[in-house]
Amino acid sequence: MSKFTALVVDDEKNICDFLSKLLMQNNYRVNCAYTGRDALSFATSQCPDMILLDLGLPDMDGMEIISQIRSWSGCPIIVISARSQERDKVRALDAGADDYITKPFGTMELLARIRTSLRHSNRLNSGGSLPNHPYQSNGLTIDFSRRKVTLNGAPVHLTPVEYKIVSYLAKNSGKVMTYSAVMSNVWGPYAESDNKILRVNMANIRRKLEKNPAQPVYIHTELGVGYRMAEDGQDP
């Protein structure tokens, strides 16, 4: 199997070094770029399989890089950000980034994010068999073709809106989905900008799916950003 190529964009040389060492240990081929200009020229000449992007670059706004790359490529972009920048994360995700990871991150966490993003992009590239293949994780099953949700074998009754939310998150399992992405998918592009209705629905869903709503197993909250559903256990 040929190696995946990753492009690491960060102006801190130390971070680049440790990320590239980590990725090489895990069988990725790695390129580093310290500036936005380098990142764009690398991306166009090498067509990496995925990009790790720090938003705070000296010469360019990270958002600009995302939108430029998104204009010609769908390769996964994972944003590296510091925690207090909720607004930046949401902007980056809505601009086309696939996921984000917060500094400082564990190596396991980062590798898992990368695997998830690569899997999603592969599925999109190969035409995607996803609608027929049921979601399964920890006893929760979602059968997309029959629109049936079961928890440990027992059927769960969700309202149509609740089902729409859950199935959208399940189809993008492992990835964070922003409030606005879920809203426009469930209520259409002209949905209100206030996400309260989504959060109320989510509270109800949690009460139907989770044993303890404050310790969810299936749908986690990323405060101020959106929701992340547990990875599909059956995925190859």
Binding site: E12, N14, D17, Q25, A82, R207, Q215, P216
Partner: protein, 358 residues
């Protein structure tokens, strides 16, 4: 506010009366000792009206003074003296011109004053917005600059520890784990400092948004697990979903601090309990441990000025700082935070009001 208004009006009335009297006095001196020509006297009154419009608030006093001047000039200083008479030939014309002129002057002076005030207010707002923006930028760059090297340290250490090609000796492994522990502790401290900076900007201006309590707890516990993978938190929340106005990032920090201290004080189990209770006016969060934790409570009191015993202040990595951060955050939310000992453990309790108080 009402008292202030009365004071302002009294000042306005005083200024108006005083300046009118002054103009009249000067006019009398002119009239009896120098010349009886009404032209000069009229000019005195114009100056008076102008000054009144400048010195008082709004249009009213300027206009009022204009009418008064016309009446005074007519009564005192134009033929027939000491009598009101606007009907002599050319008088209606003269006096209506004077009135118009004086009204227009006073109105435009008041208008300029009003514009000036609006301009000053706008300038102040702009300056405040600029200050706020600068504070946010500083916070952002500090948070980036502090977290980046820590990410590097933690990442490099774990990548050396996990290197399969050139494994490290047990001795080195131990040193590596010290590096990771210390970096982790620094990170905890940085998070606390950043939380404080978010509040300490200007006073207690806090942006609260209604948040689901369970979501905040979920994220706090997930982040705690990153720091303390072995921690077991036993959580119970009310059946109904609770929306409470708060700055979620800060309350998360409070939960992490209190849970971390509770877990650290549990002698064997690494476990703690978090119970949320909905009450009439507020929501109470109880964090309890099964440990022998009088230390924690004592530390809490020291850091909140209840006790002055400073011997324990520098023990217990960062827990003390964490407590004072909690105290500041909960105060800014207009809640309460208390600590108390039980026979077998300690309890920390904080409350958040259900209604956002303005």
């Amino acid at each position: 506010m009402g008292k202030d208004l009365v004071k302002h009006q009294l000042r306005n009335i005083g200024v108006t009366a005083g300046l009118l009297l002054l103009a009249t006095g000067l006019a009398f001196i002119l009239f009896f000792f120098i010349s009886k020509s009404p032209a000069n006297i009229t000019l005195f009154y114009f100056i008076g009206v102008l000054s009144i419009a400048r010195q008082t608030d709004g249009y009213f006093y300027g206009i009022f003074a204009s009418f008064c001047s016309i009446i005074f000039i007519n009564y005192f200083f134009s033929y027939p003296y000491f009598d009101i008479n606007f009907l002599l030939p050319t008088y209606p014309f003269t006096f209506s011109c004077m009135l118009t002129l004086s009204l227009a002057t006073s109105a435009s002076v008041s208008y300029i004053k009003k514009q000036n005030r609006a301009l000053r207010l706008r300038e102040r707002q702009l300056a405040e917005a600029e200050k706020e923006r600068m504070r946010e930028n500083i916070l952002r760059s500090i948070s980036h600059d502090l977290r980046t090297p820590l990410t590097g340290i933690l990442g490099s250490a774990s990548s050396i520890a996990g290197d399969l090609e050139s494994p490290v000796s047990p001795e080195q492994q131990k040193l590596l784990s010290h590096i990771q522990d210390d970096a982790g502790w620094l990170l905890h401290l940085v998070e606390n400092l950043l939380s404080i900076m978010r509040i300490a900007g200007d006073g207690t201006r806090l942006e609260t948004v209604p948040e689901l309590v369970e979501e905040v707890i979920d994220e706090a516990v997930m982040r705690l697990h990153k720091q303390m993978p072995e921690a077991r938190i036993d959580i119970s929340v009310p059946e109904a979903a609770l929306l409470v106005p708060m700055d979620a990032m800060l309350i998360e920090q409070v939960l992490i601090n209190l849970l971390a201290s509770a877990v650290a004080h549990d002698p064997d189990g690494h476990s703690a309990h978090l119970t949320v209770e909905e009450r009439a006016k507020d929501v109470a969060f109880h964090i309890t441990d099964d440990g022998v934790g009088p230390d924690n409570v004592r530390l809490f009191q020291i850091f909140n000025g209840v006790s002055s015993d400073s011997s324990a202040a520098d023990s217990q990595k960062g827990i003390g700082t964490g407590f004072s951060v909690c105290h500041t955050i909960i105060n800014a939310h207009k809640g309460r935070i208390v600590a108390q000992n039980y026979a077998n453990g300690a309890e920390f309790m904080f409350t958040l009001p259900k209604e956002a108080s303005a």
